[in-house]
């Protein structure tokens, strides 16, 4: 799991080759914390085909807003410098996240 911040988001996500899953979270976001173990589990299963990364928005608020993320949890898939897909709030369930990953790895 790559720990993203303001400095490395460009190189690790936007300039990266292949697909990158970004888990946007914050210190106070309880639903985000509940998702974390599931996302780690998906990294074990799909980690060879897709890069897993997470961004704590508390320290990168403007960056998150520029990515049109203004509410948590958000789990998004990036490729070629663009956000291709995302699951926001109630839609960000473990089942939906796995289904989204499968769309890009198969």
């Amino acid at each position: 799991m790559i720990d993203l911040d303001k400095e490395n988001f460009e190189s690790e996500v936007l300039q990266a080759e292949g697909f990158v899953l970004v888990d946007f979270y914050s210190d106070g976001c309880i639903p985000c914390q509940a998702l974390t173990p599931h996302i780690h589990g998906f990294e074990e299963t799909y980690g060879e085909k897709i890069t897993f990364a997470s961004l704590n928005i508390t320290k990168a608020r403007r960056l998150a807003i520029a990515q049109k993320v203004l509410g948590l949890p958000v789990v998004a898939i990036y490729s070629g410098g663009e956000k291709k897909d995302e699951l926001v709030k109630d839609d960000a369930t473990p089942e939906n996240i796995e289904a989204m990953i499968r769309k890009y790895v198969s």
């Binding site: 928005i57 608020r61 473990p94």
Partner: protein
Amino acid sequence: MDRIYDVIILGAGPAGLAAGLYAGRARMDTLIIEKLAPGGQIAITDEIENYPGSIDHETGPSLVSRMAAQAKKFGAVIVSETVLSVELEGAGKVIRCTGGEYRAKTVIVATGVVHKPIGCIGERELTGKGVSYCATCDAAFFEGLEVYVVGGGDAAVEEALYLTRFARSVTLIHRRDQLRAAKSIQQKAFDNEKMHFIWDTVVEELRGDGLLESMILRNVKTGERSEIVADEEDGAFGVFVFVGFEPAGALFEGQLQMKNGYLVTDDDMKTNLPGVFAAGDIRVKSLRQVVTAVADGAIAAVQAERYLEGL
């Protein structure tokens, strides 16, 4: 999964966790099924001031994590699963989840409530894009920005006060000319310099392409409309919605007796089906609080135990 549990509890909020604690202590084989993580509504509540014994900034997450640990200590197992359908009639109850099927002799329904949306144009599309139902999740985005809170009850005013720690200003929009929240909370809000109020007003439309950009308000007394636009320098603002709750009971339609979507029980938490009980906010009741939810959970577990003894 051939195992048959003594009791399956649906939902791990305060009602479900209290039921799990009592069932576990009664040595019942207990499974609690929760969609994501224990907590229910209070997991996203910053401050719990009115639960007896909780003082000094007890937060929802801290209280509920102790409740979950206590239920587990006495043997209750909590699994993270989404329930797809239930079969509650007859002696063998079946709970179908994304990960498989679970069976039990008794079921306690403690699925609680979910936040009600405003129901206005643009709300669904802009959820997570400036529109939020969870202050603790999203407050950090609005550090130094302007925030609006819709509603006038306890949740609206308490969450508005929480947001004043982050936002430049917090404006409460309420459809009446006075708040419904407890007097002690109201006083805190009126005393807070960052708090502002717009009375007799509803949100008619939320606008924005990808992010919330503006909001149309309507005064319910004069019919006058006004528009609130994001400050040019800020580029964004937040709308937090706390206009009430609705029951999470769709799974039980056609099986359990309901009134306006809430489950009907007697004083012993018994529903219309033998061996099926309901506890907490999902019930028809006059006060939906942690303190009444845990009481329901305890009663439901004890009644489930009695039902098992009679089998």
